[in-house]
Symmetry: C2
Subunit: 355 residues, 2 copies
Amino acid sequence: MNIKIPTLIIDRKKVYRNIRNMQSKLLETNTILRPHFKTHQLIEIGHIFKQQGINMITVSSVSMAMKFANNGWNNITIAFPVNILEIEEINNLAGSITLNLLVESVESLTFLTKELKNFVGIFVKIDSGYNRTGLISEDPQIDAIVNQVSKNSLLKFEGFLTHAGHTYNAKGQGEILNILQNSNDMLTHLKQKYVTDFPDIKISYGDTPSCSLANNFDGFDEIRPGNFVYYDVMQYHIGSCSLEEIAVSVACPVVAKHNSRNEIVVYGGAVHLTKENIEADNNFKLYGYIVNYTEDGWTEPIPGAFVYSLSQEHGLIKLPDKYMNNINIGDVVGILPIHSCLCANLLNDDYKIIN
Amino acid sequence: MNIKIPTLIIDRKKVYRNIRNMQSKLLETNTILRPHFKTHQLIEIGHIFKQQGINMITVSSVSMAMKFANNGWNNITIAFPVNILEIEEINNLAGSITLNLLVESVESLTFLTKELKNFVGIFVKIDSGYNRTGLISEDPQIDAIVNQVSKNSLLKFEGFLTHAGHTYNAKGQGEILNILQNSNDMLTHLKQKYVTDFPDIKISYGDTPSCSLANNFDGFDEIRPGNFVYYDVMQYHIGSCSLEEIAVSVACPVVAKHNSRNEIVVYGGAVHLTKENIEADNNFKLYGYIVNYTEDGWTEPIPGAFVYSLSQEHGLIKLPDKYMNNINIGDVVGILPIHSCLCANLLNDDYKIIN
């Protein structure tokens, strides 16, 4: 594969299939897929989405919106509480594309009404139980925000948006589908309250675990999963994907062997894979599974092989005997990452698309 | 400070002082400071070191060596087991600067003896107890490596190098100084064994906790701490520095307030600060302390304020009542990072040097 340094290997066929699988759930429904591009952040992967008919996307920062707007994407939701310090960039973006912003306070909205120079759509961010951002559905600020939005000719009330990030901590499919249903109930209730006055408003829902595990999205006007395009070991542990569906691995050169402790050291550390890990009760931390590269991709994970520690540039890998004996310094091994979004962010300049 | 997005703020005065404090320990000794540049990776910070008389540096990758070599640094040790897949880049570097490589196996060395086209220095990497990389001091490969190096006119045996990374897990100054002493004993023993045949060989020792806490470096020919230039919350917890010595903070815009749970949300997440954290027994994870910016820097940490969770772009901060009441959306707060090396690596394009 001609790898010299830690490199994100992206399997195009798996990417296509992951996108098509998500789209297939929405056939014959009115629910739109507005994928979150924070996972890959790559123009080429955006192109694959476009080939599959995707026109509207989600991003998590103004700079990411600018990157994709400059590449022809003209309908973007920035799914992050609006950062009013970037008003100049927001005005520029809003002057050239259809831009939706998230508001969760009268304070932010008041600033926007004063400083906006171009038209934007406004989603009210609702906290459906993750307790990270958003207003609870009974918050009186919702009424005040909707009211203020409706009075400003540069603003359009687009509806209610939530990210059910607590699915990442849920135990099993049942609990995840419960979260989806509760979010659906909460946002549907809000929509019903306002839909007479604002007939076009939407409910926008996101997160890869529930969008992967659910098959019924009735009531949602759009879904915004992002991670599903690549998946990762964390999603596998949640149950959102099979190991075979993970579409990225990190190719790492072997730089040292320690036979006495069944370990190899690879060039591939926290600055390539992130410190994200999966913890087990026995004080064990998992930083990735190990695969071997083949002519057209990679094998399934080697049983009993795993990354158990990361320094800035070093990855420490435990290997069973029979693999220790066959591995040499200068070989390249693959690591299935724990969290593909953070890993891809680090390897944004060092990637290779295969297949 | 005109901050719009998460930005690493580097206090030049503190950087100078941290460098001078480390240098002052080596006055009237023969021990040389060869600082590790993986922490900052910045040309401007390199310039400060140069002004303080530093000529020889350490890096952790070939690409980092190339960056600093292109900026006039001509004596560089790559303190990472040599990645033989980058032999072409190594040959180019070795053709233009004084380059030292780390070897810990006959396998890597045999490759180098065949493929090297220019002169390099070779340090044998010794494992002084961290169990990450290196040979144990009794390993017969050491003899084989030294022997093979001495027979090749493009190679010079430079001595023994160790990184005592286990100081990061040590409990208190006594244990850390013990590690330093044990490493010193181990490497001195090795040096004595070979110094008659190779009178110029050196002992090279690194890691910020022990270099910060020790005052006696007798026996070490050079030390290679890196983190000390910035320090961070982890070093403060180890006892290597005071909070006041931490020379970097991450300026983050406030994007949401949740008064009911004493929380603010900032634009500043895992892609800016990394997922590195300090864990407490009660299942609590600390991702950073909070400071306020002043005219010429930042305050000491706000008591009872801390980052307790990070998503990709979001930072979740707990604040005491009196600070909640005074903070507004669009304000900028500072976060003292847990691990400045990983944080600076992420903000390599988004930094500002003050003072």
